[in-house]
Structures are given as C-alpha cells and as structure tokens.
C-alpha cells in the first residue's frame, strides 16, 4: 500500500483500473441507493432506470439526435472559428513583441469579462438564431486560446532559435521551421482544454437563446419538471465531452508522434 502512495511513482495497472472502477461504481451505486431509498422524491432525483427510459424515448422520437446535432454544430463552428484565428495570432503574439503590444491590452481586458454578461448584448445584436450561440462559444474560447498559445510560443527554447540561426536559418525560417512546429504539442493541449470549456459555454448559450440543442432540452425539461430528461441532457453532454477529449488524445499521438507527451 505504501508503495502506491510515493509521489509520482507509477502504480500497477490493475490497481489503477480497480480504483477507477470503484469510483464510477460508488457514484452509480450511491445514485441507485439514494433514488431507491425513498429519501428523495423521484421527480427531483430520478432513478437510473427512469433516466435510461427517458433517453430511449428521446431517441425513439428522434429529438435527441436533433438536439445533439444542433449542439455539436454550434460547438464545432464556434470552436473551429476561434481556433483557426487564435492559433496563428497567438504564435505571432508570443513571437513578436510588437504584436503582443498591440493585442495584449485588449485581450487581457476581454478575457476577464464573464461571457454570460455578454449574452444579452449578443441576443440584442445578433438575435436568437445559432449565430448568437456560435458567438458565445467563440468569445468564451478565443481569448483564452490566444493567451495560452502566445505563452506556449514564448516558451519555445531560445537555444532552438539560436541553433537554427547558426545552421543558416533566416528569420522567416525560424518562424516557420522552429517556432510553429515547436508550439504544436502545447497547441494540441490548449485545444483539448478549451474544447471542454466550449461545451460549458454551449449550455449557457442554449439556455438563453435556442430552440433546439442539449441546453434547450435541459431548460424545457425543467419547465415540465422532467428531471429524468435533464439527466439525459447532462449525461449526453458529459459523454460528448469525453469523446472529444479522447479524440484529441488520439490525434496528439497520431499527428505528433515525436512529442514527449505522446507516450
């Protein structure tokens, strides 16, 4: 037992899996017991059974797929748009002090504005169609990505730049052949982390301004006191987040086999 608690030391694979299984089991078991004990009214805390049945119902009439499709579309568009702009701009910002001087004051201000505070403004300006939701995701992720990528670019070791100069590189080579590849592992991590945030902003956007989507499903279910459907919505979002996380881990390993983090 003591061997399993020495700092940073690896533990045997079976021990790891057992511990993880116990956590998941305990949460599910606690839920079942709590729901079955009668201590909590089932219209506040549905049983896993009820949630599963609600999920099947939503699948059968096809509405769950519509909600998932709508949410995925919004998250993907907002996130992709933010990433496509934030990654190159962030690299420039971390590389050239002049770019940093121009951009940083603005981003540092906006970054601390709560996205939720901007939703009403966006509804007024853009309306309640999907553009607003995409804008919410964009604002929620873009500025964070920008700062994180800039920091990564800033920390590409100076000696890597210097050695490339002594190998005959010009400034443009140093950017394209050293700084850009040097930031890729960090950029992958940033995208993975901020995609998680994008999912949390999605629900915010859909609760305020949507007529379909998982957040909208949750909101309308609350109005009808369908707690089982709320649970379906929450679980599906969690599951989608988990899947996107796994996709990024896989992409990291596949696209950047040289990265120390690729295992």
């Amino acid at each position: 037992m003591a061997g399993w608690l020495s700092p940073r030391d690896p533990i045997p694979r079976p021990v790891y899996l057992t511990a993880s299984t116990i956590t998941v089991g305990a949460i599910l078991g606690g839920w079942v017991l709590l729901a079955a004990s009668g201590l909590v009214r089932t219209d506040f805390l549905p049983t896993p059974n009820q949630v599963a049945l609600a999920g099947v119902d939503l699948l059968k009439d096809g509405s769950l797929w519509t909600h998932i499709g709508a949410s995925c579309f919004v998250v993907f568009m907002g996130f992709a748009l933010a990433s496509v702009l934030a990654v190159p701009l962030g690299i420039l910002m971390g590389t050239f002090q002049l770019v940093e001087a121009v951009i940083e004051p603005v981003t540092d201000f906006i970054r601390y504005l709560p996205v939720s505070a901007m939703v009403p403004l966006l509804v007024l300006w853009v309306g309640i169609d999907y553009e607003t939701r995409i804008a919410v995701i964009f604002i929620g992720t873009f500025f964070q990505q920008l700062v994180m990528v800039a920091d990564i670019a800033h920390h590409v070791p100076r000696d890597l730049l210097d050695v490339s100069y002594t190998l005959g590189a010009r400034r443009r080579h140093v950017v394209s052949r050293v700084l850009v590849p040097g930031t890729l592992p960090g950029v992958m991590d940033t995208l993975r982390i901020t995609l998680g945030w994008a999912w949390t902003y999605l629900v915010l956007a859909e609760i305020v301004a949507a007529n379909r989507g998982l957040g909208y499903l949750i909101l309308t279910s609350m109005r009808g006191l369908f707690t089982d459907r709320i649970f379906v919505g929450i679980l599906v979002i969690g599951l989608l987040g988990l899947i996107s996380d796994l996709i990024f881990k896989y992409l990291h390993r596949w696209l950047l086999p040289w990265s120390p983090k690729a295992g």
Binding site: L160, D162, Y165, L167, R177, P181, G182, P257, W258, P260
Partner: protein
C-alpha cells in the same frame, strides 16, 4: 592567414539595477585553419559570451570578429555551433535534424541524405536515423548535434561546453569521439569549457581567461602529439600543464570569491 580573428572584442551589459558590467574586455586572438582552440575559465568569466559574439548571436560593444579577414555582422551557416543545452529539434528525426542546415541551403535530397548518413555514422549512431530525439540519451543527443553542425560544412565549429551536462565517463568518451571526427573532417574549432583536463586533452592551444572583466590571461601551446590518447592524460607533460592551468584558474576563482565577498559587505 588566420581563419578566425577576435579583434579587441569588448562586451558590456547593463544590469537591471542600471549598473554597467564589463563581461569581456579586449579579447584578441587568432585561430589558424584546422586548429583546435579552447577557451577555458571559471563560470561567469564570459567565455560563452565570447563564443556567442563569434557566432554572431550577440553584437559586441566594441571590437569585431573576422572570418577569413571579413567582418562578421550576424549569425551564419559558416560558423556552426553546438550548445551545452540539448538543441535537437524534437519534431525531426535524427536524420532530419542532421539535414536541417543542408536543406536550408537547398542541397539536393540525395546529396544531403548521403552527407547526413556519413556524419551519423561518424558519431556512431548508425541505425538511429529514424528515431526522434525523445528516445535518445543526453550523450547521443550531443553526438547528433555535432553531426548536425558538421553536415552543414561550416568553416568554423563553435562548441559551448557541449559535454557539460553529461556524466564524467560519457564526457571523456565524447572527447575522444570529437577528436576522431575533427581529425577526419579537418575543421577549425573554437571550444569553450571550464574543465581543465578536457581543455588540454582536446586543444592545440588553450586560452585561459580571467573573470570580470573577462580577459585572456595566458595562452598555452599543448605540445602533445596527435592523435591524442587517454594514456597521455597521465604523462608528465600533461600533468605539468594541468598544474599550471589549475593554479591560474584557482587564482581567478579566489579573486572572484573575494570580489563577491566585497560586494556583500558593502
């Protein structure tokens, strides 16, 4: 004619507190073609600064660096450099790392692949061409870094304590390997180290530096024949030279220590 000339090189820095520190003062010497020259001194004596000035990575406050009689104004492929830190590009394989310079020069793929294989072979890493740096040990990475610098065919090879991060056993093996490769490639080398034994074992000429401001204190010819072998390390000539350099460096280290103590008492 001298291949590389350091002409009254002086380097001053402004510290954060606004004081002006002279890191190097009037460093002048010449290195002949195919010579192996070593700068040795205590840490902080400015020897790495001197090397970076030669590389063109820093600009001198005064004086100049001449390569084949022409003044140097910035970094360039004709002055290749090996750093103390591990500087392989992690996203390139060993082969691609070694081809980095030739590729920038737009040398045809077949030629540069051949040159890269030759030098990878020379540093004893045949079979590792397709491996990424993360799978190499520190000594292996430095050998690739040497191969990468040589494959770019520089006129002068600058080495900034390239074996400084390696353990003692690996270090001495790397020294022998470097001499073999140098003999074969017949390059002019300027090597920086704080290790006296390493300096005398490798160099034709050793420049002992003083600290703060960094000056050349002594120039020592190493009369040992080539090829150098490890048993020379115990020869009378070697031990005598070592004693001489050690006492010079010790004097400098003590002087630095005194100066620091003085600073603290102020």
């Amino acid at each position: 004619m001298a291949r590389l000339t350091l002409d009254r090189l002086t380097m001053r820095f402004r510290t954060r507190r606004g004081e002006i520190v002279t890191a190097l003062q009037n460093i002048s010497f010449e290195i002949k073609d195919r010579e192996f020259a070593v700068l040795v001194g205590t840490s902080g004596c400015g020897k790495s600064t001197a090397l970076r000035l030669v590389a063109g990575l820093l600009r001198p406050s005064d004086g100049r660096v001449l390569l084949d009689g022409r003044a140097v104004s910035g970094p360039g492929a004709e002055r290749g450099m090996v750093f103390q830190s591990y500087t392989l590009f992690p996203w390139l394989t060993v082969q691609q790392n070694v081809e980095f310079g030739p590729r920038l020069k737009r040398i045809p793929a077949a030629d540069r692949a051949r040159a890269a294989r030759h030098y990878i072979d020379q540093v004893g890493l045949r079979g590792f061409e397709r491996v990424y740096p993360k799978e190499l040990s520190g000594g292996m990475m430095q050998r690739v870094a040497i191969a990468r610098a040589l494959a770019n065919d520089p006129e002068v090879l600058l080495m900034d304590e390239p074996f400084g991060a390696l353990d003692a056993q690996t270090r001495s093996l790397m020294g022998e390997l470097l001499l073999r490769v140098w003999g074969e490639a017949s390059k002019t080398v300027l090597f920086v180290t704080h290790d006296i034994e390493e300096a005398l074992f490798l160099g034709d000429r050793v420049f002992v530096m003083t600290a703060r401001p960094g000056r050349i204190r002594e120039e020592i010819q190493v009369p040992l024949p080539r090829p150098r072998t490890v048993d020379m390390l115990t020869s009378d000539v070697f031990v005598g030279l070592k004693r001489q350099v050690m006492s010079l460096i010790r004097e400098e280290a003590l002087r630095m220590l005194d100066a620091r103590r003085g600073d603290e008492e102020e």
